[in-house]
């Protein structure tokens, strides 16, 4: 019988990451879609770094940042009583940074794909930017938000390099499913590795299937 805690931990981590990413990415995408400055390009380049950087590089820098010897790590440790390195909180922060482009890019593409006249018409009707975002832009970008959420969820579930660097392999805290698979293979316990891999494959497939089913239903309705 396999230990289910890595699976539950992965799902928990992915859910929390997606919720935090939604809260960050929606206002950030709205801001970026309305900005025309060189500063915007710098922000976009920084946010997109996890797309091209090897996860171990990102994990290494995060590990240094989370260390109690660094100013960020010591701030969290001394003032908030949270140790970021090798903890679930650290994993959440790392996952948010690592999966940010996967959530942000689809939402940004969705916002940029809407005609500019939609938000302009809303402003001319006396509505604020916040009302326009909540009542016009978001409802018309549902598909992009769903795509971003699914990509970020699946990406978080499957992450390995960053988790290994900043979280290690602590059961019930940082031992997520991808780490568990690695652990089982290292121990030559292929049966459990098969089970974990099969479950991860099934979860990812079902999520993607649901998204495509919904997407195709929507396009048929249109």
């Amino acid at each position: 019988m396999i230990d289910w805690s890595p699976i539950l931990l992965s799902i928990q981590l992915a859910f929390i990451t997606v919720i935090i990413l939604l809260l960050i990415s929606i206002p950030l995408a709205f801001w970026l879609s309305n900005k025309k400055s060189k500063f915007k390009s710098v922000i976009e380049a920084i946010i997109s770094l996890p797309l091209v950087l090897p996860p171990t590089v990102l994990g290494f820098y995060l590990l240094l940042t989370f260390s109690p010897n660094s100013s960020v790590g010591s701030f969290f440790s001394n003032y908030l009583g949270i140790n970021l390195a090798f903890s679930f909180t650290g994993l959440v922060i790392g996952s948010v940074i690592y999966s940010l482009p996967f959530m942000l890019q689809p939402i940004l593409t969705g916002f940029n794909g809407l005609p500019k006249s939609l938000s302009e018409a809303s402003y001319l009707l006396g509505k604020s930017k916040l009302t326009t975002l909540l009542k016009v832009l978001l409802p018309n970008s549902k598909q992009s938000i769903l795509t971003g959420s699914v990509l970020a969820f699946a990406h978080t579930i499957g992450e390995f390099g960053v988790v290994l660097m900043i979280g290690g392999n602590i059961p019930n805290q940082t031992k997520v499913i991808s780490i568990a698979i690695y652990d089982e293979v290292e121990s030559l316990n292929y049966t459990n590795a098969h089970l974990y891999s099969g479950i991860l494959l099934a979860i990812t497939f079902v999520i993607l299937l649901l998204v495509y089913l919904r997407k195709n239903t929507n396009s048929n309705v249109m």
Binding site: P115, S117, L118, E120, A121, S122, Y123, L124, L125, G126, K127, S128, K135, V136, P139, N140, M222
Partner: protein, 292 residues
């Protein structure tokens, strides 16, 4: 009274807009000119959707924009009705939801019922936007623009993508609404018959500058005449049959064939704008000055 002095330079471009004019209550101004002349930019600057370097916009005592005093009222506060060429209705809402969205804080929805009736879209209220025809969409967009009871209505080629029958009915509707709600209306249009039908004033824009400003009749026709009926139309065909030269002309009222002299015949070409004057026993045709 509305006063405009609009001045905008586009970065990395030689285009510079420099336009000043005044409008009174009840004026229906059309802006006409070639593509890229700055027609839409004028509307966007008035609405506050684009920023300009210098100039001013004032409506009676309130100042919307003044570069010297550093005043720039947000589009939300200008209370302008704006109908875009297309794509401005919210697809996530039904027709009635689009109109209700436009209601201001504490505003009664009586205006919506009035507009639904006036614009004849009562039977569309629960329809989704993507199920409406182009003409129906523009009717809804017009109704939505009027919900907040603007005094200034800006129309950016709202009828350009609509079939002729719907276009004529929407022109009548625009005229009715303009008078009924006592508006100042500014219309960007490429359609000369439409301009003649709707406008009291016409502004010809060329490369960001005012080329002409006056009534459509003064500007488009070469002289004033006392003929009883004047049709504005486009030459569809030139026919030379049994020594008789004629032009086939399409106007809003239909298609007419006009006999012309052989010398005149050679001066016309297909697609040209012309004016046909019909008096008691005779008719005559002459060219319209086309500024595009």
């Amino acid at each position: 009274m509305l006063k405009f002095n609009l001045n905008k330079t586009v970065t990395n471009s030689t285009f510079e807009l420099d336009v000043s004019f005044e409008l009174e209550k009840g004026d229906f101004l059309s802006i006409y000119g070639a593509s890229g002349a700055g027609k839409t930019t004028v509307l966007r600057l008035i609405a506050g959707l684009d920023n300009m370097q210098s100039g001013f916009i004032s409506k009676q005592d309130s100042i919307w924009f003044d570069s010297l005093k550093k005043i720039n009222l947000k589009p939300q506060l200008r209370k302008v009705g704006f109908v875009f060429q297309n794509n401005s209705l919210f697809p996530n809402m039904t027709v009635i939801e689009n109109l209700e969205y436009a209601l201001q804080k504490n505003q009664s929805n009586a205006i919506i019922h009035d507009l639904l009736k006036q614009i004849e879209i009562e039977d569309l209220v629960n329809r989704r936007i993507n199920t409406l025809s182009g003409g129906q969409q523009q009717k809804v967009a017009l109704a939505r623009a009027l919900v907040q009871k603007p005094e200034l209505l800006l129309l950016d080629e709202p009828l350009s993508a609509i079939d002729n029958a719907s276009r004529l009915s929407l022109q009548n509707l625009l005229l009715k609404i303009h008078h009924q709600y006592n508006l100042i209306t500014i219309l960007v249009s490429h359609n000369v018959p439409e301009i003649f039908k709707l406008s009291t004033k016409l502004l010809i824009l060329k490369a960001g500058r005012i080329e002409k400003f006056g009534t459509p009749k003064e500007i488009f026709t070469t002289d004033t005449s006392s003929n009883e009926i004047t049709l504005i139309g486009t030459v569809l065909d030139l026919t030379l049959l049994n020594g008789e030269c004629s032009l086939l002309i399409q106007s809003n009222n239909g298609i007419v064939r006009q006999i012309v002299s052989e010398t005149d015949f050679n001066n016309y070409s297909i697609g040209e704008l012309v004016e046909v004057s019909i008096s008691d026993y005779q008719s005559a045709v002459k060219k319209i000055v086309d500024f595009c």
